[in-house]
Structure formats: structure tokens, C-alpha cells
Amino acid sequence: MIEKIVVLEVVLPLLAAPVCVLVRHPRLCRLLSLGVVAVCLAIAVAVLLEVRGGGVISYQLGGWPPPLGIEYRVSTVNAYLLALVTAMALVVFSFDSRGGPPRVPEPRRHLYYAVFLLCISGLLGIAITGDAFNIFVFLEISSLSSYILVSLGGHRRAVLSAFYYLVMGTIGGVFFMLGVGLLYQVTGTLNLRDIAARLEPSLDDRGTVLALALLVVGVSIKLAVFPLHHWLPNAYSFAPPKVSAFLAATATKVSFYLLAMILFTIFGAPFVFEELRLQAVLLPLSILAMFLASGAAIFQTDLRRLLAYSSVAQIGYMTLGLSTANVTGLAGGLVHLFNHAVMKGGLFLVVACLLYRVGSVHIDALAGIGRRMPLTAAALVIGGLSLIGVPGTVGFVSKWYLVSGVLERGWTAAAVLILLSSLLALVYVGKVVEAVYFRKPAETQPIDHVREAPLGMLAPAWVLAVAAVFFGLTTNWTYGVAREAAELLLAGGI
């Protein structure tokens, strides 16, 4: 039974999108997408429970057995990602944004839900499929719909940001496609496990090395790894706040999985990290991301831009976990996927609450808002503390395992740098908290009329804030699954 229903993860949102277009009723479409995402979450959790402990679910599309047919293959790694994406989608969808994105007039709002569902279907498809070219197709489905979602932001620069995102994303997608083509030339197959079994990577084989280079660069663009991150701050700060919350919590996470899968499953840790020594590039870039992006975040005056730069820094922590190539470090990177999704998703939802009530998230405009919107501000503080990595929050859990993994590898300097970069997070979070609680509101911007955000907005933001504390205290589920996934990846499986 469970082998059959895993395909619904992709099929349901994919079918619900055209249904939304036909129904043309915004409220019905919202309910439909909520329902679909809830069902997908239930399936993802059931699948995760099923495959934990080394199980694998394989579904053959159209009954064609792999490697000829397309196979959906779910192990702990994929199931973890499916649960993460659907859970975040459910929380973000339940956020009642009171009127939707500014650029979408009421009669067209059903199309907005259709695009959102397509994006989810693409992201879930990347996570679930075991076929290399199928990944490319899903990658482009999710990317194309995220370009649209970003362009719906209220400011005119949203469209320009979406255009840049499109150009960068397409270049990344074409690189990925070329990499898959080279792998197909070398191995003659597109099934991921079959590629991994037939590929004998060696430094003398230029085709293989080139394939690795193209795949890594292509995915790094989509993941916004440090020097390729230029599209991200603009896209996240001009997109509608709900979209920023969703993309920050899911899109980069799926790209991270893709990168880990390429490095560990297809090419294998011995080739990538011992023969090729990719960590010599990945480690410095991760550390640069942690420092330069956090440094840039400190100088931002707009809360959304600040959070977007902080995302680039947090991606640096994830790729740092990747470059350790040991179980603890990789598990730290993987658990940070979930932890960062919870805190950054929550923070962007807080931004949406503030935008709705205050009308601006310029830090000066937020002066003294803590007294007017105490619950929203408290959620902001919890998310901020988690970004710093204060014990008792999810941020601490990630950094603990990352530092342990880095020390296991013997990189003492990198461990010190992780801790130092947390100080930068302290500065930019402190700057926001200082404005929100301790600064007097400017006389030109009276905030007496500002009230607490409505429940429909506050509740989802608080769900994530509570999750940030809950999973900071209980790590059995998150770290347990992440460790199992890391062991599986390092053993070359998916």
C-alpha cells in the first residue's frame, strides 16, 4: 500500500494546480491547496516512519522496471526532505495573508495558488525521483514557478529580481542538464543508482570530472553557495513575504539535498573528498559565506534583506557540514536543513505580520514595536536567538554537531571560525531586537495605531517559533533522522 501511495506526493499537487485554474475561486483554491499539502505531509510522515532503520520504497512509474523506466525511490534521506518540504508548505499555506500578494488582483488569485502548488510539486519531485533527467525536469518546474512567485512582490524591483533569478537559475539548470548528459555518455544510463554503480570516477577521466564540475556549479547556483548567491538577497527581499518564507524554508534545502546526493551517492565520498579534494574549495567558500554574508547582514537597514543575507550565511554552515564528509558533520549539515527552515520560515512569517500591521520592515520603522505587537516581537526574538545558536534553540543543535564534525576532522581553526561567526549573528540580531524593544518610535512614524497581528498570521509564526524551541530541546527526531540520512549518504546509498 505505502509503496503505491508515495507517487501521490508529486501527483496530488501537480493535479491540484490545473484544478485551481479551473475552479477560479480564491477561497476554494486556498482550501484545496491546504488539503493537498496536508495529505502530502501525512504521506511523507508515514513514508518516513516506514523507511526509518534502512528501509527503501521503490515505485516504478508506468510499471517499467528500472533502470529503463523512471523510478521513485525513497529512503530516509528523501523521506526526511519530503516531510520537511510538506510540513513547511503546510505552515506557510495556513498563514492567512489577508488579501494575498499585492500584485495579484482578487479575480486572478486562484492562479497564485496554482503556481504555488506547481512549485511544491517540483520540489517534492526532486526529492523523490531516482532518475537524473527527471530531476532536471522537476528542478525547472520548481524554478520556473518560483520566478513567478518572486515577481508577484509589491515593489517594482520584485520583477527585476525575478528576472535576475531567472537568468541565474536557467544557467544553473543548463549546467545541470549538461552534467547529466556527460554522465549519460560515460555510463549509458539515467537511473541514479545505475549511474553510481557503473561510474568508476578517476581524475584521468575528463568526462567524469567535467560532469562533476557542471553538476556542482549548476546546483550551487540554485543553492546560492557563496560567490553564486547574488540572486538570493534580491529575490527574498522583494518577493511577497509568504513566498520568501516558503522559498527560504524549502527551495535551498532541496538544492542542498541535490548537492549532497551528487557528491556522495553518484560520485562517492572517496573520489570527491580524497582524490579530488573538493573540500579545499568548499570549506573556504563556506567560511567566506559565513563571514561576508553575516557581515553584509549587519549593514542592512531592511529586515527582509538582513534575513536574506543571513540565509546565505546559513547555507555556508550547511556546505561546511558537507565538506567535513564525516557522519557527525554531514548530519549537522542535514539537521541544519530542518532547523534553518524552522527558524528562517518563522522569521519571514514574522516579517509578513510586521508588514501587514506596520507597513514597512525598515528597521527604523520598527522602533518600539515590541510594546505594540508583543507576541510578534517575541516570535522574532526566538527566531533571532536561534540564528545566533543560543542553547535551547534549534540553532544550537546544528552548530553543536557542525563543530563536533569539524573537530573530528581535525580542523580546529574552522571550529573557532564557526563560533566567531556566531558573534556576527549576535550583532545583526541584536540590532533588530534593540530597535524593536529599546528604541523610541520616531516622531514622524507614530505607531499608536499599530495593533497585534491577527490570529491567522500569528498562529503559523508561533508554530514555527515553538518548534524552534521544542526541537532545540528534543533532538531525537531531527538529529536521529539526520544522522541516519548522513550514514546512508556516506555509504553511497539513497
Binding site: F133, L144, Y147, L166, T170, V174
Partner: protein
């Protein structure tokens, strides 16, 4: 293998790389958004040609099984060498993706032109600085 030999054997790949770099250069160097989209198209076309090139089998014919009444469903007496059909099929999907990307990029360019009154990137950036 000497460089001359490697060129004569792999000339199609050299052409594809050249085409690809032309596309990438246009994307980077041109400020006009429509030209950027054209550059992106050339870049994608190069990747599609790459797949089509690798599908060619020397001496291979079109992958259509000839109808042979003597051997229904069979390949006939002698083995026929076919070109690889799979990359072509993959490229049908990639072309659709490319068309969707182009359509979306052009739609965004129209919106940008509506908001900024220009489809030139540098002018749009200046406009944003003046109307912050």
C-alpha cells in the same frame, strides 16, 4: 592523440562550446533584457545540440523499426544499426522547458518595461537609484 586529431574527431563539441560561450557572453555583456533572453536561448540551444550530437551513432540510421512481413515484430534477417533515440526524446522535454523559460522571461521583461519605462538593465538600475 595530437591536437589536430582531437579537433577533427571532436569538432562538433568545439562548435557547441563556442556557441555556448557566445550565448553566455550575450547574457553577461548586454544590458538589453530581450537580448539577454536571446543569449539565454543560444546557451540552451548549445546544450540541446550537445545531447543531439551524442545520440549519433556512426553509420546508424533513424531509430524506426522497419516493417517486415516475414518477421512480424522482429528485426529482420540482419541487424540494423540505429542512432540512439533516447537523447532526442530527452531534448523534447528540454525544448519545452526552454520555451517556458523564454515565455516567462519575456513576460517579465514586458512588466519591467511597464514599471520602469525601459528594457535596458542599466537604465532600470539608475531609475531605481533616483526613485529610491
Amino acid at each position: 592523440m595530437s591536437s589536430v586529431q582531437s579537433f577533427s574527431g571532436l569538432w562538433a563539441y568545439w562548435l557547441i562550446i563556442a556557441l555556448m560561450m557566445v550565448g553566455l557572453y550575450i547574457v553577461i555583456a548586454r544590458d538589453n533584457l530581450i537580448k539577454k533572453v536571446m543569449g539565454l536561448n543560444i546557451f540552451q540551444a548549445a546544450a540541446i545540440l550537445f545531447y543531439v550530437t551524442m545520440a549519433k551513432v556512426t553509420g546508424g540510421t533513424a531509430p524506426i523499426v522497419p516493417h517486415d512481413p516475414a518477421h512480424p515484430g522482429g528485426h529482420g534477417e540482419h541487424e540494423i544499426l540505429y542512432s540512439n533515440p533516447l537523447p532526442h526524446v530527452l531534448m523534447l522535454t528540454a525544448i519545452v522547458v526552454g520555451v517556458a523559460t523564454t515565455a516567462l522571461a519575456l513576460a517579465l521583461a514586458v512588466r519591467i518595461h511597464g514599471d520602469y519605462g525601459t528594457a535596458e538593465e542599466d537604465e532600470a538600475v539608475i531609475y531605481d537609484m533616483e526613485h529610491a
